[in-house]
């Protein structure tokens, strides 16, 4: 089952305006930069990017371009604003969030991880202790007040839990260190982060890989993401980027 697509632009050719795309990466680490640049070139609009821990702060140039191009409708993340309030004020994304032209919805990081994991694993909803006692238990936390809907809580064995739902994006953009032609992937160190769960959750998973190998070159016990989750693979050069974020 050969899933290799030679051109990254072909690999995202079917993505249309309004698509929901999962973007992994923990700040600068493990972000699918080439796929983000391809979606910028394609120019599709009205996108919802569902993230996990600030990949758009780590890929700040791409974020800025997406915002200035007017391609974003919504971002979902656990951490998406500059830490420094003054830097934030100057940031086009934060400005768009402040004036409501882009929706920004925030969840605890572990809840984001679990929402993808549930989406991939056929679990429609789960209870979690995370967020109890904070605004997170009251509604989804978004800058668009009209989109805040109350959350359910429940006592189980004397402890309070919040009900959270699965997240199933249309597409997942994945960055892996090694991938074989059938889509088996292996990540490098902490660049794994959200890549695996997002690959399981999306309807269509597109992986950029630094090292494309033949089937059989990855030992079966060394595979991090089984190929069944991966629909398209593209070889990319090892990205060059600065690790630090503001």
């Amino acid at each position: 089952m050969d899933k290799v697509i030679p051109s990254i632009d072909d690999a995202i050719a079917d993505i249309k305006d309004g698509a929901v795309i999962a973007v992994p990466g923990f700040f600068a680490c493990g972000v699918p930069r080439d796929l983000l640049q391809a979606i910028i070139r394609k120019g599709v609009k009205n996108l919802t990017l569902t993230c996990g821990c600030g990949p758009l702060l780590g890929a700040a140039t791409e974020l800025k371009t997406l915002v200035l191009n007017g391609q974003l409708k919504k971002v979902v993340d656990s951490y998406g604003l500059f830490r420094s309030a003054s830097k934030g004020m100057a940031d086009p994304f934060e400005q768009a969030v402040r004036n409501g032209t882009i929706e920004f919805e925030v969840y605890p990081m572990g809840t984001m991880a679990e929402k993808y994991r549930a989406g991939g694993a056929g679990i429609p909803a789960f209870y979690t202790p995370t967020g109890v006692g904070s605004v997170v238990e009251e509604s989804n936390v978004t800058n668009i007040e009209a989109n805040r809907t109350p959350k359910e809580t429940r006592m189980i064995d004397g402890q309070k839990y919040v009900l959270e739902y699965a997240l199933k994006p249309d597409y997942a953009f994945i960055h892996a260190f090694t991938g074989d032609r059938e889509g088996n992937l292996r990540y490098a160190k902490t660049a794994r982060n959200f890549n695996h769960v997002m690959a399981t959750a999306a309807r269509v998973t597109i992986a950029e890989v630094e090292n494309l190998v033949e089937s059989g070159q990855l030992d079966g016990d060394d595979v991090h993401t089984p190929g069944i989750y991966v629909h398209r693979i593209v070889a990319v050069a090892r990205p060059q980027f600065a690790i630090t974020i503001d």
């Binding site: 979690t128 202790p129 904070s134 160190k189 690790i243």
Partner: protein, 226 residues
């Protein structure tokens, strides 16, 4: 409300040192951004293992020069090194580990802590936004067996951070068991805040003067030993 006075206390590095003394041998621990990140500078040589929520156990020292690998960072987005026994895992496993009660101690920074062990850290209302950076803080509060806060005792402007009631949005309620500041070590119990240690040269009254709730003076109150 502002206590107006400012005392000279421990440096951030020394707060981190004091925290490190409270992490028992054999513990797995997780450190938040800020003063907590400095704790690893003092745990080298101890038989303890740091977890980074990005998906790593046993993070090593900060990476220097040639050691820097763009695929190896800690949760504060700093390049780190690995050690014999370090391992990596995906984010759902990482937060399963955190939420599931496998982390013995989490050390977090805070904007405010109150007498019931509630704390606020994820959102500064001064920024004027309902949304903010939650990150992994609420998961760590929910799952770590013990939650420590390490912070400056008052704000830069000398306002209370140890308060009667949170005025900032809560990160979690009733979870903080120990508070480490530049001025004091305070234990949070069902009876209230017990002042256990004060910074060298300070009195209990000094610490009380910059602390909004009434402190219970620990029977064995002493100077912070470093």
């Amino acid at each position: 409300m502002s206590p107006k006075v400012k005392f000279e206390g421990l440096s951030r590095e020394l707060i981190a040192l004091r925290v490190s003394r409270e992490i028992k041998e054999g513990s797995y621990f997780n450190l938040g951004i800020g003063i907590p990140t400095l704790v690893t500078n003092w745990t080298e040589g101890m038989d303890v293992i740091p977890q980074a929520e990005i998906g790593m156990l046993k993070t090593g020292a900060l990476a220097q020069g040639e050691e820097v690998n763009q695929d190896l960072i800690n949760a504060s987005c700093q390049a780190v090194t690995e050690l014999p026994g370090s391992c990596y895992f995906d984010i759902a496993e990482s937060f399963g580990m955190i939420r599931g009660g496998h982390i013995d101690v989490a050390v977090m920074g805070a904007l405010q802590v109150n007498v019931r062990g509630d704390y606020a850290g994820w959102s500064n209302p001064g920024r004027g936004m309902f949304v903010g950076n939650i990150g992994g803080s609420m998961d760590l509060c929910a799952g770590a067996r013990k939650l420590f806060i390490a912070m400056e005792h008052t704000t830069r402007d000398g306002e209370y951070k140890v308060v009667k009631e949170l005025s900032y949005p809560a990160t979690a309620l009733g979870k903080v068991s120990m508070l480490f500041t530049d001025l004091a070590v305070i234990e949070i119990t069902p009876q209230g805040m017990i002042l256990r240690e004060v910074a060298p040269g300070l009195t209990a009254a000094d610490v009380q003067s910059v602390t909004e709730p009434k402190l219970i003076i620990g029977p064995d109150l002493k100077e912070i030993e470093l």
